[in-house]
Structures are given as structure tokens and as C-alpha cells.
């Protein structure tokens, strides 16, 4: 029972991070119909930025995360600005452009931080907290709380603000959004910035749980992408549920199949997607390609 609960909590913790990555994929996809293949690399840059500001600049962890989010949001804006001339002209080139940016970010990380990577000490006490007889690592609680708060803020932004409504409108209908006065390019830029910010938050949070290195973006990117697909690509609630499901899958597979765990995780994922290609929240996907 104890093992089961700990696996569960571990799954939810990683799931919360995957959900953040998946939401980043989805918000860009919803708005532009584009899969941002640089997203995993942005997660990695976020992890490096946060851990560097935390460890080298001795900033408090929370401040380091905020700085990392600002840095990567800027990177998101740069990527969108470079891709903008291709919007509505060459979709394939846009996709390849995001792959290119991913490669550039990875190479940049190697140049700045070296190829070996570093471990990040936990920003909170390492001992577990006892909640009703269940021992929960303090850091897990923090990750889950921060991810939940970020998700809540994003939902509030999308549903309660004018800019948020405009972003949703662009996602649903480019031309109608333009006709009511929404600058589609600016809205796309904001989607990219928010997506990158979510990536940075995910990267910052996962730093102390993993080893931060230049290739971590690949694994996290794939897992976040899979989580988004599992939930229904482009759906925000889907990204959250998909992230949690994928985290649990990952965690229980790791507990039961050791070195085959990734294989099992992705096999189960493949079966779910074969049975339900539109994902759990199977809304009709955007088709703008």
C-alpha cells in the first residue's frame, strides 16, 4: 500500500510537470495550428536558466523561476517573429523552422553550460511531510501546488480577460478575429510566449528531480507531446489530464518494469491513441494546415 501510494504521488508530481509541457504545446497548436518542435528545448533552457540563477546567482528559487520564465518567454517571442513571415504561406517550412530553433537552442546550451550538465539541490527541506499517514516528499507537494496555481492563472487569463478571449477567438477563426480588430500575429506571439513560459516553469520544477543537461529537452518534449496527444491535442483540459495520466503511467511502469519502463509506457500510450486517436478530450482538432 505504502509503495503504491508513493508511486502514485511520484506519478502525479511528474504528471504535473508533463501537464505544463503539454499545455505549452497545446496553446501554440490551438492558436496557430502549429506543433512547436522547439518546445522540448525551451523546457531545457528553462531548466538551465532557473538552476543557474538559483545556484550561481544565489537568487531565491521562486525568483529564479520567474527570471527563467521571462528569459524563455523572450525566446518564444523571437521564434514567433522569425516564423511570422511564413504564416499562411508555407506551413511545412514553419514546422521545420521550429525543429531548427530546437537544434539552435540545444547547441547554444552546450556552448553556454557545457555538455555534461549539473545536478540541482532541492530548494526545500528534503524530508517528507506526513499527511494522514502517507509520507509525501515536500518538493513533490511544492511542484504540484505550483503547477496547479499556474494552470489556474492561465485558465483565469483565457476566460476572464479581453486578451485571453481574443487568443481563444484567434484559435477558433482567424478571419473573424481579424475582422473584429484582433491582430493575429500579436496573438500568436503571445501564445508562443505563454507556451515558452510554461516550458520554463516545467523545466525549473523538474531540475531538482532530474539531472539538468542539454539533451533533457528531447525526453521531456516527447513526453509532454505524448501527454498532449493523450488528452486531445490543442485542448487545455486535455493537456492537464493527459499530463497526469502519462505521469502515472510512467511512474507505475518504472516501479514494475524497471529498464523496460519507457517501452511499456509508450506501448500503452500507443494503444490508447490507436483506440482513441483524438485523445481523451477528443474535440475536433483544428485543421489549418
Amino acid at each position: 500500500m505504502q509503495v503504491f501510494l508513493q508511486t502514485l504521488i511520484g506519478g502525479v508530481t511528474f504528471g504535473a510537470v508533463y501537464a505544463l509541457v503539454a499545455m505549452g504545446f497545446s496553446i501554440v497548436y490551438r492558436t496557430m495550428g502549429l506543433v512547436n518542435f522547439a518546445h522540448g528545448s525551451v523546457v531545457m533552457i528553462g531548466a538551465y536558466a532557473a538552476s543557474t540563477f538559483y545556484m550561481a546567482s544565489k537568487l531565491p528559487f521562486a525568483v529564479a523561476i520567474i527570471v527563467a520564465i521571462a528569459v524563455t518567454a523572450l525566446i518564444g517571442l523571437v521564434i514567433e517573429r522569425f516564423l511570422r513571415p511564413l504564416e499562411n504561406k508555407d506551413f511545412t517550412l514553419m514546422l521545420i523552422g521550429t525543429i531548427g530553433f530546437g537544434a539552435v537552442l540545444e547547441a547554444g546550451a552546450v556552448l553556454v553550460w557545457g555538455a555534461t550538465g549539473h545536478a540541482v539541490p532541492s530548494p526545500v527541506a528534503t524530508g517528507p511531510i506526513d499527511v494522514a499517514g502517507i509520507r509525501i516528499p515536500t518538493y513533490s507537494l511544492m511542484v504540484i501546488a505550483v503547477a496547479a496555481a499556474a494552470t489556474g492563472l492561465l485558465a483565469l487569463f483565457l476566460q476572464r480577460t479581453k486578451r485571453g478571449a481574443a487568443m481563444q477567438a484567434v484559435a477558433m477563426d482567424h478571419q473573424a478575429a481579424t475582422a473584429v480588430g484582433i491582430h493575429v500575429g500579436r496573438s500568436n506571439a503571445m501564445a508562443f510566449a505563454i507556451g515558452a513560459g510554461l516550458a520554463a516553469l516545467a523545466g525549473s520544477l523538474i531540475g531538482p528531480m532530474l539531472y539538468v543537461n542539454p539533451t533533457m529537452g528531447g525526453t521531456l518534449g516527447i513526453k509532454g507531446f505524448a501527454a498532449a496527444m493523450l488528452g486531445g491535442f490543442g485542448s487545455m483540459p486535455g493537456a492537464i489530464v493527459g499530463g497526469l495520466v502519462f505521469g502515472l503511467l510512467d511512474s507505475f511502469a518504472a516501479g514494475n518494469f524497471q529498464e523496460y519502463s519507457e517501452l511499456v509506457t509508450f506501448l500503452v500510450f500507443a494503444v490508447i491513441v490507436m483506440v482513441r486517436p483524438t485523445g481523451i478530450f477528443g474535440e475536433a482538432t483544428v485543421n489549418r494546415a
Partner: protein
Amino acid sequence: MTTLTVEALSVHYGGVRAAHDVSFTLGPGQSLGIIGANGAGKTSTLKAVMGLAPRQAKSIRFGEHDLLRAPAHTLVRHGIGYVPEGRHVFPGLTVEKNLLLGAYTSSWKRTPIDEVFDLFPVLGEMRGRLAGALSGGQQQMLAVGRAMMCRPQVMLLDEPSMGLSPKLVGDIAGVLKKLNAAGLAILLVEQNAKLTFDVTTTCLVMENGEIAASGTSAELSHDPQVRRIYLGL
């Protein structure tokens, strides 16, 4: 008040010519119809005026504003409301959000949303409903209501009668006449010539991307050829 002037407008999609050498003027409070068969270039003309289609023109002006150089998203600020073909409401947002987005460029504290609800009471009843769940007629009302939210001086409507029952077409005609009487200039693009003659005072007939005839709606509605082709009489 402001006049919309279009001079020698052409629209090409790749090598395909959709509209050629289209010119017209729409003064303040006036009403102008463009009728024609499917593929005559009506929608392309309207989209091109809005900056939503690739276009060439000698000039497109709205008063002192040069629309040929204005990005599409800035037109609404000059008081140009657009009701696209096929309604194009935002399906996953509520009726109220759809309307508010019509007033995107102005403050959401003072919008004419109550006037829209007066004109279309059904929208008021359904303000919390998702736009995608509305019937075709209700969506059309929403699209017109959304265009009213920017307090336009001119409204461009593309096939508002499409897919609606004769009764609803009559309702839309009534609303358009009411808005026009209250000072709103109307540019109506329609396959439904009867509706167009009913709502507008002057009219253009488009064929193969060009203006084939023009005149007052009363004249055209008595023209034997127009009657035969567009009214089926």
C-alpha cells in the same frame, strides 16, 4: 459621416481571377447591394475591401482613411463592421463573449450590447450559451450583432440569408432596413436578389468577376433580364 469608395479593385488567387475592375461608392447612410450567381466574385470583392483577400486596386478609401494600406485588423476602428459569409461566429465561446469581441478595440465597460439584445431578444436569452450550439438563424443574428458592437458607420454583409428559412430571411431584411433607417450604411452581398432589392436602394450585378449592370434596386427589379436570371421569373 464617411463615404466608402472603391476604385478599380481586382482580386486574384494565384493565377485565377476572382474579380476585375470593380468600382463603387457607398455614401453615409446609403445602402448598396451586390447580386450575382455563385462564383461571380461577390465574396472576393467584399473580402478584398476588408483586406482579407489578395487585392489590387487604384484606391480603396473610407473618408480620409486609405484602406488599401491599412492592415485588416485596423478597419473595425474606422467604423467598418463585417459579417462574413457563413457567419463565422466563435463556436467555443459564449454568445456574450462573441458580442464583446465585436467591441474588441473599444472599452468593454460601454458597449452597445443592450441595443443588440433589444434588436435580437433571443441573443439576450441565450447570452450564456456557446455560439456553436445556436441554430443557423441565431448564429446569423449573432454575427450581425457582433458587427454592431463596434458602433459601425458602415456594415459589410456577406450572404446573410444563406441557409435560412424564408421567415428568417424576412427577419434579417427587417433588421437591416431598421439599421439602415437609423443611419447605418449597408453593403449587402447576396445571391438572394429579392432580399437585396428589398433592403437596398442601389444595386450592382456581378458576372464572371465584373460588374455587368448597375442601377437603382427598383429599376433592376423590373429589368426583364435580371428578373429572368436572378429572380427566376
